[in-house]
Subunit: 142 residues, 6 copies
Amino acid sequence: MLNSVSQHKTSVSRTENFNSAHRLYVPEWSDEKNDAVFGKCNNPNFHGHNYQLIVTLTGTVDSQTGYVYDMKVLSDLIKEHVIGVFDHKNLNLDTPYFKDLIPTAENIARIIWEILREKIEPELELKIRLYETERNCVEYPA
Amino acid sequence: MLNSVSQHKTSVSRTENFNSAHRLYVPEWSDEKNDAVFGKCNNPNFHGHNYQLIVTLTGTVDSQTGYVYDMKVLSDLIKEHVIGVFDHKNLNLDTPYFKDLIPTAENIARIIWEILREKIEPELELKIRLYETERNCVEYPA
Amino acid sequence: MLNSVSQHKTSVSRTENFNSAHRLYVPEWSDEKNDAVFGKCNNPNFHGHNYQLIVTLTGTVDSQTGYVYDMKVLSDLIKEHVIGVFDHKNLNLDTPYFKDLIPTAENIARIIWEILREKIEPELELKIRLYETERNCVEYPA
Amino acid sequence: MLNSVSQHKTSVSRTENFNSAHRLYVPEWSDEKNDAVFGKCNNPNFHGHNYQLIVTLTGTVDSQTGYVYDMKVLSDLIKEHVIGVFDHKNLNLDTPYFKDLIPTAENIARIIWEILREKIEPELELKIRLYETERNCVEYPA
Amino acid sequence: MLNSVSQHKTSVSRTENFNSAHRLYVPEWSDEKNDAVFGKCNNPNFHGHNYQLIVTLTGTVDSQTGYVYDMKVLSDLIKEHVIGVFDHKNLNLDTPYFKDLIPTAENIARIIWEILREKIEPELELKIRLYETERNCVEYPA
Amino acid sequence: MLNSVSQHKTSVSRTENFNSAHRLYVPEWSDEKNDAVFGKCNNPNFHGHNYQLIVTLTGTVDSQTGYVYDMKVLSDLIKEHVIGVFDHKNLNLDTPYFKDLIPTAENIARIIWEILREKIEPELELKIRLYETERNCVEYPA
């Protein structure tokens, strides 16, 4: 019924979660400027979020397995390299990524992309979506 | 750890809600034709929806703030120019936009895009997603 | 493995949806008082909602069918007697129930309970939950 | 159609959100015991959550307004006395409630109940549901 | 601030998921009667669902840990005794529970209650909620 | 207010659901290899899922109706040609599509695309999203 190979690529997505504390501020700025730009996100004692992470891989479907990528393998990769590093952590203090980089959702998504990009075969396109709250979401690359 | 500037664009999305009444019909058409095309959406006494609006901006991440756009500012813009105009309103009777335009989800999304396009810097790409129900959604531009 | 009959009752719930327009106001009150009490819900041109309705029946599990109540039958009952009457309607103008009763979520839930109570066997306990928005919900009886 | 006053009580619920950092540990315990009991929730640099709060009031429906309680008023009360105190805060360090009380979801729910109990008329029953994550929820009183 | 011990009980809930195949039919009945009662749920080749399971325990909050029950321990218990037995299984053929019991959501919930009741301390009240689909849910005990 | 015709295309999406059993395995492979690749998805007695299907059409908005496509017509098409064939079925045994094709989410999405592509006018772009679980999703074409 499906004799010919599909000519379109397919994407597959896996959702995982992590819960972290963070603070948004630029050390070079005054307290006033940090408050003006980041508001309550600049609380020096930190606040936190349940982050929802959606990792999407785009490629061709293997004609035998019917998979673009094994979702179990993708889940394990995310858990080892992202969740294990970010979950129940203070993003500013407990991870190596946000010493000189402000942990906005935009930057967290980009860091996750860079972490996973090295672990995923280059022929697969990689995209990160990250919900910081139910109402705020980022996507990288757009 | 992230010495070079990212070469990819990032998108950020903000979700807001409004609850409105509307009616779908073409004044030039007969009742029969309106009923045939719009069915129960042509109720002359109106019906209504909880609309879920997702506004997406795509651009570059500011290297200092780590933001594409401040979500607080985007939320305030949407509330002032969209929610304040559409929420708890009759889209046909209480807004200036649907006097000569039928308030389908497609057209509501386009109107919201035109309203916000003027308020958002032109270097940022703007996209509107609008859920009329949990099962019916439109996106503009596609 | 389950030789004895369970001594506890079981509840089953079915979720359905309807989309309606309504207006909240007390005809005997001045416009000022209606505005003070009902705010934007008092828009004379109506507004609307996607109502989510959850109907719960509590009783004993039939030992042969394993059912408290056939969910298909419950869905059909709700569709015939509630959805068919309220969906894509103006609750104030198009239904017989809110001529002298203000269509708040509390009263809509109670009306649905009274409609369904007559259709469901009296040995089954009946409960109505109604979400007017994702954030506002009523339950009758509490 | 509804001549008689309903004899059942009705409950109304309002959902709000706050995002906070916290740490679970008993100061009197050794690090080993805190780790054994609280695991990664004992991170000394804190972690955080998007808390979803559902406040339920149970009472009689006012025959004129059709309300058990004005959801706008309830929302404002929650925002002033709970969200304003907990949102974008470190529950351990920035609030007066968890100096000598461990900020588990159970205890946060109870504190919210005690805060709101004083603000809500005593004839209305009050219940708190608090989701710490999508999968973990507490309810007080049960 | 909270000098006295709370006099109310608290409930805690944990959500887990399993994906299973099943078939609803009564072996003693004719095909016609099974079709009449169970409709498409009587497909002899089975169909399946993503079941969402919510386990609720009600008891007192431990004054030191602030826990009614450690959610990690509850999650592990559910995974070992329920998810490990039901997930990616044919409920009729692969589990010992539905040889002589029809695997309706009502009966699955009761079986899960009986499995967990033995593993949870008797002073804690136990309740099972099971979503078979987003629209169909059972609760045991009611 | 909107004198000119929009130059952008609009997409509309409709969500439907079906519940099916399936098994993932390659008949030519040994049991060991099937287990190694497909794990518990290779259960010979099948398992199942609640599939959530989102069908997206992209095109121009009709200037009179304000529709890209009538969502009622799209819903009916999906129900007749997809839900009617897959719902409460064993995808491997009860449908003609997976005799020689492994019913992974990737392949199910592609089959649904091929089924609907013939029913939808060619000037409309067609895209399929399919959630096998809340955490696993595929999109075709990517």
